[in-house]
């Protein structure tokens, strides 16, 4: 085997060709916290933190714009730590928020603006970015400030604005960078729900109210396993076009659709309100066949619930 040692570089070269190693999930969390729109709080990446927190202060000003949109969506987001922090800041709003959560979110009512502003003002004032009066003036007029050119340019397409503003709001909580992105996701997904699937919408609305009630009493998560369909046909006919997972008191949530043959992730979502529409991450329809749905969720008690079941797309 001496010869092998003569070619020691070849040996190593071959061995490391395409070499892969597992990465802890924390790495993604940290990266996600740093690359999301503006908030950063990652310990390992100190270089960009300083500049970005300055940016945050500017961004705080823009927060106002999001009040209309974001407020609506903040309500729609099932109680997350982030949301409850806001709620604590404005105790008088808690009840209203919970009870109206479902309907407000679903109907896009503009009348909710005032109430929203009240909630959101608090973080704004705390960060000394914008006086309340200014907030009130700007919203009805729907003025879009110049700093946020992107928003202006994005054809004032509602979904897009919502995305960005939600991020801005959450960036107030600097330590919440992960949640922030999750919020963003929720917004995106929900916007699709409105447009795509009215039937599904109604179901969700009911469940959310249920959730709100139950959440005050319990601490461990539950998933309605039996209600997860085993088959669905994402053909756009409005019936069973999406698949979602229902549950209560979910604090952490992660669902994946896996290719059954190679266990590759085809699609995933990180919030209980998310869903799958039978397309991969790039919007391409997946072929008919059987896939694996994998859900890991936990409540405040941190006890994970795991669901693994097959799912046939036809």
């Amino acid at each position: 085997m001496k010869n092998d040692l003569e070619n020691i570089d070849e040996l190593f070269k071959e061995a490391f060709d395409g070499f892969e190693a597992d990465v802890d999930p924390s790495v993604w969390n940290n990266i996600q916290g740093s690359i999301g729109s503006s908030a950063v709080s990652t310990s390992a990446v100190s270089t960009s933190v300083a500049s970005k927190s300055i940016a945050l202060k500017f961004v705080a000003g823009i927060l106002v714009l999001g009040s209309l949109a974001t407020g609506i969506y903040l309500f729609s987001v099932a109680t997350t730590p982030h949301e409850s922090e806001i709620a604590v800041a404005v105790p008088k709003a808690i009840i209203a928020m919970d009870t109206e959560k479902g309907s407000v979110a679903k109907t896009h009512e503009i009348e909710t603006v005032d109430e929203v502003v009240v909630v959101e003002d608090v973080p704004v004032e705390e960060s000394k970015a914008i006086p309340k009066e200014e907030v009130r003036e700007e919203i009805p007029a729907k003025t879009i400030s110049v700093e946020q050119q992107q928003v202006k340019e994005s054809k004032v397409e509602e979904t897009k604005i919502l995305n960005k503003e939600t991020v801005v709001v959450s960036s107030e909580k600097e330590n919440n960078s992960k949640k922030q992105v999750v919020n963003k996701n929720r917004v995106e997904q929900q916007a699709v729900v409105h447009a795509a699937d009215v039937e599904n919408e109604e179901i969700q609305e009911v469940n959310w109210e249920e959730d709100a009630l139950l959440e005050r009493e319990k601490h461990s998560a539950s998933i309605d396993k039996d209600k997860i369909p085993r088959r669905f046909s994402p053909n756009g006919d409005g019936i069973g076009d999406v698949i979602s997972v229902k549950g209560r008191n979910i604090k952490e949530f992660h669902a994946k659709i896996l290719n059954i043959s190679n266990a590759k992730v085809i699609f995933e979502w990180f919030w209980i309100e998310g869903f799958w529409n039978g397309r991969d991450m790039f919007g391409n329809k997946v072929p008919e066949g059987t896939y694996m749905l994998q859900v890991v969720a936990s409540g405040e008690d941190g006890v994970p619930i795991i669901v693994n079941q097959s799912l046939t797309v036809y």
Partner: protein, 181 residues
């Protein structure tokens, strides 16, 4: 699923969280493999990976679509690993290869071909830093000695001698541990 790089990059630039996650999922394991080779342990490798991938996202608009995305990412990761070495460590260029106290797990009695990347990784990680860095860059990343010299601020001669000594070191270890017979 076939990956459409152009679309992926575009969506990452739009800060689409799904695309960002996808990019991470798709490349992070291989890049972790790269980082491990330049590090002494997993923690260090993960730190390098994290910083490197953040750079990837931040610099993504500079990716010109000419080469492969993987090659571009890999370059950033390797540079990050080298930064880490330059910043935090001395290259230990004068290690005596006779003083090798490295122990490989003794359960390998197979021929050298059977050595897995995992085993070789252990060997590489334990190598003196100068050997390790030069060896990695030259053999696996394909840098020339001139490029290595520039990157590490050493002379071409040093790079060459580090490389041959690294090979001698590896040979010694592999023989010592009777991995080969």
């Amino acid at each position: 699923m076939k990956i459409n790089e152009e679309q992926l990059v575009f969506r990452c630039l739009e800060k689409d969280p799904l695309a960002q996650k996808y990019l991470f999922e798709y490349y992070s394991k291989r890049m972790m493999g790269v980082c491990l080779r330049y590090s002494t342990d997993r923690e260090e490798a993960q730190e390098v990976l994290q910083i490197g991938l953040i750079k990837v996202f931040e610099k993504l608009e500079m990716f010109d679509q000419k080469g492969s995305l993987e090659g571009w990412i890999r370059k950033i990761i390797v540079n990050t690993a080298l930064d880490n070495i330059r910043k935090h460590k001395k290259l230990q260029l004068n290690v005596d290869i006779d003083k090798i106290d490295y122990q490989l797990d003794n359960h390998h009695e197979t021929a050298i071909e059977a050595l897995s990347a995992k085993d070789l990784l252990k060997v590489i990680q334990q190598m003196p830093l100068g050997f390790k860095t030069v060896f990695n860059m030259y053999v696996i990343e394909g840098y020339s000695h001139k490029e290595i010299a520039e990157e590490l601020e050493i002379t071409v001669g040093t790079s060459k001698s580090q490389f041959s000594r690294a090979k001698a070191y590896l040979r010694k270890i592999l023989i010592k541990e009777e991995i080969t017979r």
